[in-house]
Symmetry: C2
Subunit: 207 residues, 2 copies
């Protein structure tokens, strides 16, 4: 199929993004083409800005505009409560709940030996350093909430991290927790998969 090359290039670029099929890529490309030039220019600049105007927070590795992200900079947050997540996107998701007042630690992925991703490829040692520093600063107790995804890799990573922390800091006042796995709110028992159901049974709380 022949279309003008500038259009074809954008269709191809959009199609390479997750969740955008060939048809939506086409529709989006033509939509963009119809927009006023300054608006298209702005979108292109914004996309470029993603790389040129952001850094990883030097504490938690979340996306940031400055050395320290706005969460790590916030003195109102509890530095002895650290939630370990896979990606910056997970920070956003958790922040939306408004229920977490600790800090984060963005791993940058999960352990995945098949793809060659071991502890060195993630920010695991950086997490240990942060815990060490907190202990040196005299924290009475530290809680590390493991909030990797409830996928095979996420669970493996959580288990690995727990083991690492326990071995690295024996006898220290560190509590390692894992976010609850169970039935999503608004869902139906009838349609839940057996794994989720088992988890919701294992994780049952007194009522």
């Amino acid at each position: 199929m022949k279309v003008a090359r500038p259009i074809a290039r954008v269709i191809e670029a959009l199609q390479s993004l997750p969740g955008i099929g060939p048809r939506s890529a086409e529709r989006l490309a033509y939509h963009l083409w119809r927009l006023p030039e300054d608006q298209v220019q702005q979108i292109a600049d914004d996309i470029k800005g993603l790389k040129t105007m952001t850094v990883s927070c030097r504490e938690c590795y979340n996306i940031s505009e400055s050395e320290l992200c706005w969460i790590c900079e916030d003195t109102g947050r509890n530095p002895s409560l650290v939630m370990v997540v896979e990606e910056p996107l997970d920070v956003s998701a958790m922040e939306r709940t408004g229920k977490f007042d600790g800090l984060y630690h963005v791993l940058g992925g999960v352990l995945d030996p098949i793809r060659g991703i071991g502890p060195d490829e993630l920010r695991t040692y950086e997490l240990m350093d942060r815990i060490q520093l907190r202990l040196e600063k005299g924290s009475e107790s530290i809680e590390i909430v493991l909030a990797t995804n409830p996928s095979t890799e996420g669970e493996t990573t959580a288990i690995y991290l727990r083991k690492m922390i326990v071995e690295r800091f024996p006898g220290q006042p560190i509590k390692v927790t894992r976010i609850a796995r169970g039935l999503p709110v608004g869902s139906d028992l009838e349609y839940a998969d057996p794994m989720t159901l088992s988890r919701s049974l294992e994780g049952r709380i007194e009522y």
Copy 2:
């Protein structure tokens, strides 16, 4: 919710596009952020190129890199068969069938009085000029295929154009046709809406 502004800007930009909700916009923004810088740069440049590297074909108003688009330039196509479509996207869709060897005329939209879109806002007069030119060049017969969408506005526009052509060129060898409306291939009578069913009955052909 606070996220780094470069991310927020891209989320907002993506969200303004059709078919991209807040969640996919977020996911896409973070995906883009994770890509290598040169790739992100390339995507941004491609998007910019949509406006800076394209023009409207001076004949049919399709998106083109040169004054005449590749279809209008193709001498193998029948210049006495012109399909009127709403948007360049429709040209791509029709070209995919490989069944049309005429030329196109991209209206640039449909009549929509509520939004202030009348015949002056579309390329209606440009269509009349093209027909006029074809007649002057001595075409034995011209067919204009009205291929606006089978929506209320598309139908209204098709009716309007037919009337305009008939009134403007009385007694001339011009055939005005409309693409068939009916049941989509692979669909189910049972699930078809009454309008589509009526159209498929009205448009029935000898078998």
